[in-house]
Each structure stands twice: as structure tokens, then as C-alpha cells.
């Protein structure tokens, strides 16, 4: 049965998983991803196994889903693509804008010469998954050729002649019987918080740390590339924050921070790590044991620091209120990691308008309201578009949405 088509917007965990579930039932999928890399934020997450034991963070599952989706015959993937408008007359007609790819995925052999030779930092981006082909992409905001045609080293040096910097954007029209919106979340930007993110080199977000560990396997201070002696994690940055009107727990940060902290201790045991927190949330099925071990390995302080200052030697001074003495204490760290929360996708407003969907006051989608109307409208949602979720919860959310779509398309098929 290959009678039906579904358009899936968003190539992150939810979009990839829903694509696979539906494709396995013989439904044709077009998966539209805005960026040039699939896998959403989670494809940049590191494996957090400690003492050779899996801690069930789910990062490897994202890699597996991505691999299976790109090789599935029923899934057509459109990266660098954005939905411009959708109309419904029986079926959906979707106009999609496709950015130029610049790198020919058929020709590119992932030799990395373009990345090596490019004179600018960040003008050639590399992905996190080898299954994302090509592994590299041109950053339109930085590339000198796209600015003023002054540099074309990558094109000239590519041994496969895979780079065409003159490629133009194109339009693509898709027809679909149902639409799934899975555009995900926006990691909280900690720039507005008094923690010096973006100002002090050695203040990172958990997302930065995930990527650093994934790429280099060790933690280093960005200021001098040397391992830090003391690291502080600050939890709930952008979550559980009434001043920001972020009245939600992002669910995943305690697990992400503490699993990374223990993974760092595993490989670099000389590093001293402190976690500042409000309430440690339960994550994983073996949480009780994990937390006991973590309390032995990590310093746990139940306080959220007010400010961070940089010392003359690029160390970071953290002030916080000590519960036992009621005094403001000061501690010096070499590296501070901000556990940034899950916030509504920055395109949510635009998407809601495009599809006539309703946003909750929080800025997330109303998953219950969507569900109730989806069997009439044919527009479904999945994943962190409707709130914070872990990788496993996102996979589950995608499975449930896939089930609803199947029922919508094939109401009488058991």
C-alpha cells in the first residue's frame, strides 16, 4: 500500500522517528528540514556512558534513527528547505523553498579538504552524523564568495569538483494527504542572564559542552585549550524562572548535566565538579543508584548563583547564598556550564499562523487541542513543539503521532 503521502516538517528526533514509523507502513514521506543537517539539536549530543556502562541518555538512538531514515526507500529528505505556504483542497499543496546546497551529495567524498582550506572560521560547517550526506555545508552568513565572490578556495581545491558556489535556490511543490509538524524547541539563550555567556570564554552552555565532548572526547577551557581544574554546572538556566515567565521544568537538564559531569569524572578524574541546583529531577530507571554515585563524585550545592565575574586570570567567580551559614559565599571555577532549558521554537508563531494552529501562553503548541482537531484537519504535531521532552519521550511522542496519522489515512485498516 503506497497510496498516501505525508509531509513532515522538521528533521529532528520527532520528525525522523515519525517518518520511519510511517514509511515502514508503506506511506510515502517527504521530510522537510530547514537547516542543512538532520537530527535536530540532539544529533550533537555526546554519548554519556560512564565506566563502560550505558546511562540511557538516548543520544546513540538519534544517530540510528537518522541512519535508517536517510536510507529508507519511502522517505524523501529535503534539507535546507522551508515551507512557504500550505493550502488544502482535498489534499494539501505545499510550496517549499529550497536553499542552494552548494555541495553535491553525490560527488562529495567527505575528505574534509574544504574545511581545512577555508580561510574563515565557521564558513564551512561540519555535521555530527556521518549519515548526513554531505557531512559538510557552506555557511551562507560567513562565506566570502557569497558575500563578494572574493574567495573560492574550497571550490578550486575540492578534488571531486563537488562544490558549486553559484548554485541558486529553487522551489519545490509537494502534495500530501496529511501534515506532521515536528519543528522542535529552541535551546534557551543564556545571553540575557548575568552569567557572562558570550562575554567570558569559559562560560559554556550544556549544548556547547555536549558538542565539545562529542567532537573531542575531553573537556577543555576554550580560553587556552587546557583542561579545567574546577567545573561548575548551574541548573535551571531559563527553566523554572518566573521572571522570564518560563513556568516549566525542562525535564532533561538534570540528566544531561549530571551524566556529562560523571562522564567527565570518568575520563578526567582529576577535575573537581560542582553542581548548583534547585531540585534534582529523576531521570532514567536506575536514578536512585545513579544519584547516590553522583553525590559521592560531585559537589552538590542547593543554590542558584546570582552572578558570575571573571577574574584577571580568566577564572570565574561565583557568588551564592550558603544554606548552612546564610552567608554569601564565593567560589572560583575554571569553567562554568549553564544548563540551558528547552524553550518554544522561534518559528512557532509563524508556523501557527501558516497552519491555523493555536499556541499556548507558554509559546509551545497545545498538544491536546491539536490532537482533538487533527482527525478533521489532517494536521498533526509531535515532539518538543509542545513542551520539554527527553529523547525517549520524543521518540514516544512521534510514535503516537504516527499512529494517529495512520488512523486518519487508513481508518479501516487494522
Amino acid at each position: 500500500m503506497t497510496d498516501k503521502n505525508v509531509l513532515i516538517i522538521g528533521g529532528g528526533v520527532a520528525g525522523l522517528c515519525a517518518s520511519l514509523e510511517l514509511a515502514n507502513l508503506g506511506i510515502q514521506i517527504e521530510l522537510v528540514e530547514k537547516s542543512i543537517f538532520l537530527g535536530g539539536h540532539a544529533i550533537g549530543y555526546t554519548c554519556k556512558a560512564t565506566r563502560n556502562t550505558c546511562v540511557k541518555c538516548g543520544a546513540c538512538m538519534v544517530e540510528e534513527k537518522l541512519k535508517n531514515a536517510v536510507s529508507h526507500p519511502n522517505i524523501k529528505i529535503l534539507i535546507g528547505s522551508q515551507v512557504k505556504n500550505i493550502s488544502k483542497n482535498g489534499r494539501f499543496t505545499i510550496n517549499i523553498h529550497q536553499k542552494p546546497r552548494y555541495i553535491d551529495s553525490q560527488k562529495c567524498n567527505q575528505c574534509a579538504i574544504c574545511l581545512d582550506r577555508c580561510p574563515l572560521d565557521g564558513a564551512i560547517l561540519n555535521g555530527f552524523s556521518k549519515n548526513n550526506i554531505p557531512f559538510y555545508g557552506i555557511n551562507e552568513e560567513k562565506c566570502l564568495y557569497l558575500k563578494d565572490t572574493s574567495c573560492h578556495i574550497c571550490r578550486d581545491e575540492c578534488p571531486e569538483k563537488a562544490i558549486n558556489l553559484d548554485e541558486k535556490s529553487s522551489k519545490y511543490v509537494s502534495e500530501a494527504d496529511a501534515v506532521l509538524v515536528a519543528t522542535g524547541f529552541q535551546p534557551f539563550s543564556p545571553v540575557g542572564k548575568p552569567y557572562g555567556y558570550g562575554l567570558f570564554k569559559n562560560v559554556l552552555s550544556t549544548l556547547d559542552l555536549e558538542r565539545m565532548l562529542k567532537q573531542t572526547a575531553r573537556v577543555k577551557k576554550p580560553s587556552d585549550n587546557k583542561p579545567p581544574e574546577r567545573i561548575a554546572f548551574i541548573q535551571c538556566v531559563g527553566s523554572r524562572d518566573s521572571k522570564l515567565n518560563h513556568l516549566w521544568c525542562s525535564k532533561v537538564c538534570c540528566g544531561s548535566a549530571m551524566r556529562m559531569a560523571r562522564r567527565i569524572k570518568d575520563r578526567q578524574p582529576e577535575i573537581d565538579i560542582t553542581v548548583f541546583y534547585i531540585d534534582v529531577q529523576t531521570f532514567g530507571k536506575d536514578f536512585e543508584q545513579f544519584y547516590k554515585d553522583a553525590q559521592e563524585e560531585l559537589g552538590m550545592i542547593r543554590a542558584i548563583p546570582g552572578d558570575i565575574y571573571e577574574t584577571d586570570s580568566q577564572k570565574l567567580k561565583i557568588n551564592f547564598l550558603d544554606n548552612n551559614t546564610h552567608e554569601t559565599l564565593e567560589e572560583i571555577f575554571d569553567l562554568v556550564v549553564l544548563s540551558i532549558g528547552i524553550t518554544p521554537g522561534k518559528d512557532n508563531g509563524e508556523i501557527a499562523a501558516l497552519l491555523h494552529l493555536k499556541l499556548a501562553d507558554s509559546g509551545f503548541f497545545e498538544s491536546r487541542a491539536e490532537e482533538a482537531s487533527a482527525q478533521n484537519t489532517g494536521i498533526f504535531t509531535a515532539g518538543t513543539i509542545s513542551g520539554a521532552m527527553s529523547i525517549s519521550e520524543t521518540i514516544a511522542s512521534a510514535g503516537k503521532a504516527a499512529r494517529q496519522i495512520v488512523k486518519y489515512l487508513r481508518p479501516n485498516s487494522p
Partner: protein, 527 residues
């Protein structure tokens, strides 16, 4: 006749699944140990059979053809179903002993408070004698969002509708659930007092008149307080039901450390088990809020729909048992993680249930199980050294790395993609699971002049075949232990674990291994 799905359970999750499947015309059987079942589906096209007071006795066969034997009042019931979904409810245990308390009229478990609140909506007078209610929430043991939500909901009702003073004593407040942070703030707004413990714990005393006194040091003001609640509500621990534990055994499903019916393994996300065609959903697999049970139900229905669309594909070159060599020792039957080997008049590999992990073949003491392309003889044909010499070292070690297809092969490819340099003499050999590697495979590598053999496999707890990496470690350890006895260096063989996304670590591992082997020099077994 269409194939049926058996749903084991009688709680909300089981009913959501039943409703979902029936609505698309699937045929289902619900079996429950409960005496009654009040499930009444809305308009549906599928057929339904409800078996109450029924316990599973055995389940034979494999995906698409499970032969179920159950007992109902000493009556035997036999059904054949295509798939099974375990959707049993969890069980609650009140934590009185943790707090050194005994149940009484003023010390009640959480479920009793929920009952009282239901009664209070008809008769608000039942709380007329009560002024203060204290909730104990994960004070000595970590709680979870399901219990935290019920406690906060109860406090909200008592405080705002019934004008009682409520206190929640808690260690880490679990707000990692939908809407719980908002609920927390609502309770605080109406006046619920939260007493949070970090480094201290309260002292709870039962007085001779039965009243409760809770003494604690407030961690914010450092002052000593005494609370004398009229009602003290004790929280609960959620555990799998005894029947769920029985089901796991009867169905040969791996459980997690707490006994929930699903291994704690990322490959089982969301509702899958080690057996194809047997799913597990809702509180039978995890502590779960109602919303998440609906999500699980959708996933179970989806898995069932996929099964109805066709049996899982039979792997190419799956395991085959040589009747002549098999002595029916049943090692394969015990070791197959997927229960794909069944016993009949002879031992049979169920084609649709086999995942081609190769564990049975590697573990068979008689070498009676064969998997094409995975035999030591055919694998050893792949063991050819590269022709690029390492000029900066005394010699170019020939390294054979057996790589699990799910983790190490992926990590190795990623490593190259990231631009890491790998040893020129490294030969990666892809195997479906490291559990497929036998002594013969490893000896074949040394016979083929390998200077070192690496087994690269998944982290513990991450093996798709559950214990394949454990078997591989046993094999490697046994060989390494014997090597010194024959005058061979034990460091020529090693096992390392990694994940598919560990490209950098892959390079580190193989390069470190190469350095070790360069130090040892060429293998003494080399011809």
C-alpha cells in the same frame, strides 16, 4: 480469520490500547486477573473477547503465531494470537516504615487522602475537625513526578477549597512532568508551605495519644520548628505488580532492575521487548503519568498495526541448526536473547523471530549452528592486512578489529569522516553483534598473522542482543587468561566498548592499541 492481539491488563492503559485497536477493525482479546472488566468500547469494527479472572499459564511459538494457554477458574483457555501487549497496572506501596510510622486515623496513605477528597466533594464536613495536613514526599528516598503531582493536587484542594493549612515536606521536588511547575506555583500561591530538606532530615515522633510531631530545622532560617499536623499523609512507592513479574517470566521478557516488564535498554524504546511481537506499555514498563500512558497506548497500537501489516522480515542468512550435530544441550535455547529458538520434537530457529545476532552459533559447544557469512572460515577470508606501511615505526602491526555493526562499525566510519587517522594495518571486520565472536574467530585472526585482535562492542546495558557484549567479554577474558600459559602476550587481545557516535574515541582506542602492539613487537605466531 484475521490475526488477533492479546492485551494483558485491565487498567486505563490497557483500555486505551483496546479502544485504539478496535476502532480500526483489529481483533483483540483482553485477559485480566480481575474478577470484572468494565471496558466498554465506543463504536468499533473489530471483534473483542474479554477474559476475566484469567491468568496466563504459558506462551509458546513466536511472533505472528503465539500459542497462549491461560487458566480461568481451573478451566483451560487456548488462543492463538499474532502479538501480545503487556499493559498491567503498577502496584503502590505506602512508605510508612520509611518514616517509622504506622497507619492510623490521623496517619494515612496517599491513596486514602485521594479517597477522602472524593468524599469531601459530596460532604465537605469530613474535614471539619482538621486544621493542618502534612504530606511526606520523598523525604528519605527519591520520589517521582507521578506521586509529586498527586500530593500537590491534594494539597491544592485542601488548601484552596477546604481552607486547611497544608505542608509538603520534601527532598528534591519532582516537577519534571507536564504542568507540574505551574501546579507547584499554584499551591504556593494559595498558601501551601514547602519544607525542603537537603542536608538535614526531620524527626517524626508518634506520641502516646497517637498524635504526630514533626521536628525539623528550617534550612533557610536555621531555626528549629515543630509541626503538629492533624493528618499526616505518607507517600507511596510504585512497583510492578506481582502478576507483571510473573508475566515477565512466563513470556521470557527481560526486566529492569526494579522488575518492570522491559529491560533498561535504549533499543527497547518505546514499547518493545527482547521478543518480537511482544510489546509492553504503560505502568507495566515504567512509572508513568496518565498522559504518558496515552502516548504508550498509541505506540503499542502502532506496533500492533505494523505486525498486522506483515510479519517482520526474515533475516538473510539466519541461524540454521545442523540436526546431525545437535545434541539438544539447549545452550542456544537458553542463550538466545530474542527467544527465537523454540523446542519441539527438535530445536528450531523461528525465522521471523531471529535477529541474526549470532550468539547461538558462537555459544553452541558442538558447532552445530551455522550462519552463512559469519562462520570463522568465511570471516577469516576478510582478514587481509593493508598495504600501506607505517614508516615511523619498527613494523606495521596487522590489527584485526571485530566491530559490532550497531556501535563500532558506525563509530569507525564516523572517525574517518571526522578526519581522524587510523592505523594503516587496521582491518575492521563487521559482525552483527560481538556475541557472535567465538574462540575460533579470534584464533583465525592470529592464524592469519594478526599481531593484535580487538573486539569493539557496545557499552554494557546498550547491547541490542542484551548480553552479546557480555558473552564477548567472557570469550576475550578466557583467551587473555590462557595466553601467558602458552607464552603469548595477553595484551595482544583486548575488548573495548563504545557507541555509534564516538568517532574520536574510536580513533583513540585503535591508535592506543596499535601503540601497545608496536611496543610488544610482531606476533610470535606469525608465519
Amino acid at each position: 480469520m484475521k490475526d488477533k492481539t492479546l492485551i494483558l491488563g485491565n487498567g486505563p492503559c490497557a483500555h486505551y490500547i483496546a479502544e485504539d485497536l478496535l476502532s480500526t477493525g483489529a481483533d483483540i482479546v483482553i485477559a485480566t486477573t480481575d474478577k470484572t472488566c468494565d471496558f466498554s468500547p465506543s463504536e468499533h469494527s473489530g471483534s473483542i473477547e474479554i477474559l476475566t479472572d484469567t491468568r496466563l499459564v504459558s506462551c509458546r511459538g513466536a511472533v505472528g503465531d503465539f500459542r497462549i494457554l491461560a487458566a480461568q477458574n481451573n478451566k483451560e483457555i487456548k488462543r492463538t494470537v499474532a502479538g501480545v501487549i503487556v499493559a498491567e497496572e503498577g502496584q503502590r506501596k505506602s512508605n510508612f516504615s520509611q518514616y517509622g510510622l504506622k497507619a492510623s486515623s490521623n496517619v494515612i496513605p496517599l491513596f486514602r487522602m485521594k479517597e477522602l477528597l472524593l468524599d469531601a466533594s459530596r460532604d465537605p464536613g469530613i474535614f471539619s475537625e482538621v486544621k493542618k495536613v502534612a504530606f511526606l514526599n520523598g523525604v528519605f528516598q527519591e520520589s517521582n513526578p507521578v506521586i509529586a503531582e498527586e500530593i500537590m493536587q491534594s494539597a491544592l484542594r485542601l488548601q484552596s477549597d477546604l481552607n486547611l493549612k497544608t505542608y509538603i515536606l520534601t527532598n528534591n521536588l519532582k516537577v519534571a512532568g507536564n504542568g507540574l511547575e505551574t501546579l507547584y506555583r499554584e499551591t504556593k500561591k494559595v498558601g501551601t508551605v514547602y519544607i525542603k530538606f537537603t542536608s538535614t532530615r526531620p524527626e517524626i515522633h508518634s506520641e502516646s495519644d497517637g498524635s504526630i510531631q514533626i521536628e525539623f530545622i528550617d534550612e533557610i532560617t536555621s531555626k528549629k520548628f515543630r509541626l503538629t499536623p492533624d493528618i499526616t499523609v505518607v507517600d507511596e512507592t510504585i512497583v510492578p505488580s506481582d502478576y507483571a513479574a510473573d508475566l515477565a517470566k512466563l513470556l521470557s521478557i527481560d526486566t529492569d532492575p526494579d522488575g518492570f516488564v522491559q529491560a533498561d535498554n535504549v533499543h527497547r524504546f518505546t514499547v518493545f521487548t527482547n521478543r518480537k511481537g511482544i510489546m509492553t506499555a504503560g505502568p507495566s514498563r515504567i512509572i508513568q503519568a496518565r498522559d504518558d500512558q496515552i502516548v504508550d497506548a498509541g505506540n503499542a497500537a502502532l506496533a500492533s498495526a505494523l505486525l498486522m501489516a506483515g510479519l517482520p522480515a526474515v533475516p538473510e542468512n539466519r541461524a540454521e541448526i545442523d540436526k546431525g550435530q545437535c545434541i539438544r544441550c539447549l545452550t542456544c535455547y537458553r542463550r538466545c536473547p530474542y527467544r527465537a529458538i523454540t523446542l519441539n520434537t527438535r530445536v528450531v530457529v523461528e525465522p521471523h523471530a531471529c535477529e541474526r545476532c549470532g550468539i547461538c552459533a558462537a555459544q553452541c559447544p558442538r558447532g552445530a549452528i551455522h550462519i552463512k557469512d559469519l562462520e570463522p572460515a568465511s570471516i577469516s577470508k576478510q582478514m587481509t592486512p593493508g598495504d600501506t606501511p607505517r614508516e615511523d615505526a619498527a613494523f606495521t602491526p596487522f590489527l584485526v578489529a571485530f566491530c559490532c555493526s550497531r556501535s563500532a562499525v558506525q563509530a569507525g566510519e564516523l572517525s574517518l569522516c571526522m578526519g581522524h587517522k587510523l592505523p594503516p594495518g587496521l582491518k575492521m571486520i563487521e559482525v552483527p553483534c560481538s556475541g557472535s565472536i567465538s574462540f575460533d574467530h579470534i584464533f583465525a585472526a592470529f592464524k592469519k598473522n594478526a599481531d593484535g585482535v580487538l573486539v569493539l562492542t557496545c557499552h554494557e546495558g546498550n547491547c541490542h542482543s542484551e548480553r552479546g557484549n557480555v558473552y564477548a567479554r567472557q570469550t576475550v577474558d578466557q583467551i587473555a587468561d590462557r595466553f601467558p600459559q602458552i607464552g603469548f602476550e595477553k595484551d595482544r587481545i583486548a575488548l573495548q566498548t563504545l557507541a555509534s557516535n564516538m568517532g574520536t574515541e574510536f580513533a583513540e582506542m585503535v591508535n592506543r592499541f596499535e601503540a601497545n602492539i608496536i611496543e610488544l613487537g610482531p606476533s610470535g605466531l606469525k608465519k
